[in-house]
């Protein structure tokens, strides 16, 4: 289990954040996800097996841009 911080661009409303949260939570291996519109960051708890590409996909399918991944 790892904590991952995401930098996300393109959000401008509350439902944006909630969409990305929902999409991330649907990704297998992701246990929890919260996205903050205020800091433009996402906070994810995920299995070690979750790859960058999967995170990328989860964000981009909702129409936003993942610009940074920071693994603890």
């Amino acid at each position: 289990m790892k904590k991952i911080k995401l930098k996300i661009e393109g959000m401008h409303c509350a439902s944006c954040a909630s969409n990305i949260e929902r999409s991330l939570k649907k990704t297998p291996g992701i246990k929890s996800a919260t996205v903050s519109l205020m800091t433009k960051k996402g906070f994810v708890e995920a299995e070690d097996s979750v790859k960058d590409e999967e995170l990328q996909k989860a964000v981009s399918r909702t129409g936003y841009k993942l610009t940074g991944i920071e693994r603890e």
Partner: protein, 655 residues
């Protein structure tokens, strides 16, 4: 440890809000250049019946003028919104996109007399929407201004000693062990230890402490604090992401990733809000059309419903207030780690304080010494210090400091007896240093000293009995003075109606003396470190407990309590435990943290109330056909602006 990947280097260091604000601003300017004439034409034609444009072309010209507003300046909204219909991840752009596209299309169909022309309205909606987003982005930026200041706080360059030369290098190139030269008025580039020089340092930006702190050789300094009057030579001990400032920023940012329980309902609604509104607007349209057969009016009402509904007020209510609150805290050295803490705080009835380092300074000093007959004080101290030199415990350090030996006796078999004392061998005989309990356990007679122990304890000293080969050499009384503002802070809490308690490993008598000085009447003494959490649990049967202690030894108790408040020592923060972390070691921070939490939570409740009220009033009004689409859009923009602005008003609260 950290591994940051930037897929988009180009945007990395640019403050996000600023780029968002400037992009909305540009779109806003352009859209009004067209939307204002459109508004004038529409108003004069429809209200005053005065045709500015030739009647035959008027609607075509409006349609053409509205096009760029909706589809060029509003392109990102249209694009983002329509994508929602493909991916089924709807956001509020979807509502605006659908509303404006339908409205604009009526301009074409109106040419054939099918429906009234709403194309001008489409431009107005988009222009107001963009304006609303611009103002909201500014307000959101203001909400995070303290955090932004923290981000910009770090020094850019450092002057480093290379051999005998001073060279200036960017902050990112400093390595641990480098010696930095900091002149008066300059920022200390990164965390380190003073190796030469003496000065006072302004640490207010980090700790909230307004008075400058004196720094001498061997003192730790924090990066980004400002050197006041002397030249300091500082050896870097932490760089990059490991610095104190980086930790604070991390902590404040991560708090935004935690939820305040009260927002749960709002979050749930936000999640299904847009699709629900889409469905409602279709139903509303069909109903109105079925009952009135008036296509134009039915469409107008459906558009009103689409654009009046805004999940933002609901979704922003909590995070904006939390952001402002945690920013206000950060400025004062109060770091809110978990959003939940500010909600729980209002239920707290009991505030439990750890003694050492929390109520007291945590720097015990040897106050009293009583030796056995025929034993010299120097000898007692020599034996005691030689043993205690192996321990990191503050009491041990106090004894070592007092003895101030040049040469220590050789010690073997040193062992720490947690919560009791230490043991070790000097020569073949065993030395035991510890509390009366330990002596009793080891069957060492204290008879001769019973009175001394009692009098030491009554004066607030912790007694350390030194025995050598089963014989007591003497007693050392160590006392830890209470912090200057502990009494004031605790009495403030009592005035506010909190039950205050002190918990400590000290014996009852010593503990009572200290507690009395701090103004606390309830004391739980003789508690082993590992039992503190259990005591907290017991107290929780009587009410919600906030535990105040240092983040390292008291971690389990902090965790067990309903709100854990971890005290920093000024140069180190215990990030791993505590719901709230106080950077500065003053108990006044506890009072402030409690006030700040209550005020922030109050603001969240207020915001949520307005957001719910807005949606439950505005949507039915639109459904009932009482609001023109443009009015609906203005109301929507105002709702989210109000919430964010209201959050910003939290700054007026006195903490």
């Amino acid at each position: 440890m950290h591994d940051m990947k930037n897929m988009d280097e180009h945007h990395h260091d640019e403050p996000m809000e600023d780029s968002e604000i400037s992009s909305w601003k540009k779109k806003m300017k352009w859209s009004w250049i067209l939307a204002i004439p459109i508004a004038i034409i529409m108003l004069s034609e429809r209200i005053f019946g005065f045709m500015i444009l030739p009647e035959a072309y008027s609607s075509w010209i409006l349609l053409a003028m509205a096009f760029p507003v909706v589809f060029i300046f509003g392109w990102e909204t249209i694009k983002g919104g329509t994508r929602g219909f493909v991916s089924l991840y709807f956001n509020m752009d979807s509502l605006i996109a659908l509303g404006t596209i339908i409205a604009w299309l009526t301009g074409i169909f109106s040419q054939f007399g099918i429906v009234a022309d709403y194309s001008g309205v489409a431009a107005m909606i988009m222009a107001f929407f963009i304006t609303g987003k611009y103002v909201e982005a500014i307000a959101r930026g203001r909400a995070s201004q303290e955090i932004k200041k923290l981000l910009e706080l770090g020094a850019k360059n450092a002057r480093v000693l290379k051999g005998k030369e001073e060279i200036e290098i960017p902050i990112s190139e400093i390595k641990i062990g480098d010696v930095m030269i900091v002149k008066p008025g300059e920022k200390i580039p990164t965390d380190g230890i003073v190796v030469k020089g003496f000065s006072s340092v302004d640490e207010s930006m980090i700790t909230g402490e307004s008075l400058p702190t004196d720094k001498n050789v061997k003192d730790s300094v924090i990066g980004a604090t400002i050197n006041q009057d002397g030249i300091l030579y500082v050896k870097a001990t932490k760089v990059g992401r490991d610095t104190f400032l980086a930790h604070i920023i991390d902590l404040v940012e991560n708090a935004q990733g935690t939820k305040v329980p009260i927002q749960e309902l709002a979050d749930k609604i936000t999640g299904i809000f847009v699709p629900t509104i889409l469905i409602i607007s279709i139903i509303v349209f069909m109903n109105w059309f079925y009952f009135t057969s008036d296509l134009s009016r039915s469409l107008g009402i459906a558009i009103s419903v689409l654009v009046i509904a805004c999940p933002c007020a609901l979704g922003l209510a909590t995070p904006t207030a939390l952001m402002v609150g945690s920013g206000m805290g950060a400025k004062r050295g109060i770091l809110i780690r978990k959003g939940e803490a500010i909600q729980t705080m209002k239920e707290i009835k009991i505030v439990m304080f750890d003694k050492t380092g929390t109520i007291t300074k945590g720097k015990p000093e040897v106050r009293k010494i009583k030796t056995a007959k025929s034993v010299k004080e120097n000898y007692l101290l020599e034996i005691a210090a030689s043993i205690e030199k192996n321990s990191e415990h503050p009491i041990a350090r106090a004894i070592v400091e007092k003895a101030n030996l040049k040469k220590y006796k050789e010690v073997t078999g040193f062992k720490i007896l947690r919560g009791k004392g230490v043991e070790g061998y000097i020569g073949k005989k065993m030395v035991l240093i510890g509390n009366p309990l330990l002596m009793k356990e080891r069957k060492i007679s204290l008879k001769e000293f019973e009175e001394t122990v009692e009098s030491f304890e009554n004066s607030g000293c912790t007694t350390m009995i030194v025995s050598y080969g089963n014989e007591v050499l003497g007693i050392i009384g160590v006392a830890d003075a209470i912090k200057e503002d502990s009494l004031a802070a605790i009495s403030m809490l009592q005035v506010q109606g909190y039950r205050t308690m002190m918990i400590t490993g000290d014996n009852e008598r010593t503990a009572r003396t200290i507690a009395k000085e701090a103004g606390i009447s309830e004391v739980i003494a003789n508690v082993l470190p590992e039992d503190k959490a259990k005591k907290v649990e017991e107290m929780q049967k009587e009410g919600m407990v906030a535990f105040v202690g240092d983040g390292i030894n008291d971690a389990p108790a902090l965790k067990q309590s309903n709100v854990g408040i971890a005290m920093g020592s000024g140069t180190d923060i215990a990030i791993e435990s505590g719901d709230i972390v106080l950077v500065k070691g003053s108990l006044v921070g506890v009072v402030q943290a409690i006030n700040l939490s209550k005020k922030t939570f109050g603001k969240i409740k207020q915001n949520l109330f307005w957001a719910f009220a807005y949606n439950t009033i505005a949507i039915p009004l639109a459904v009932a056909g009482l609001l023109h689409p443009v009015i609906a859009e203005i109301a929507m923009a105002l709702s989210s602006i109000t919430v964010v602005t209201n959050a910003n008003l939290l700054r007026r609260a006195r903490i």
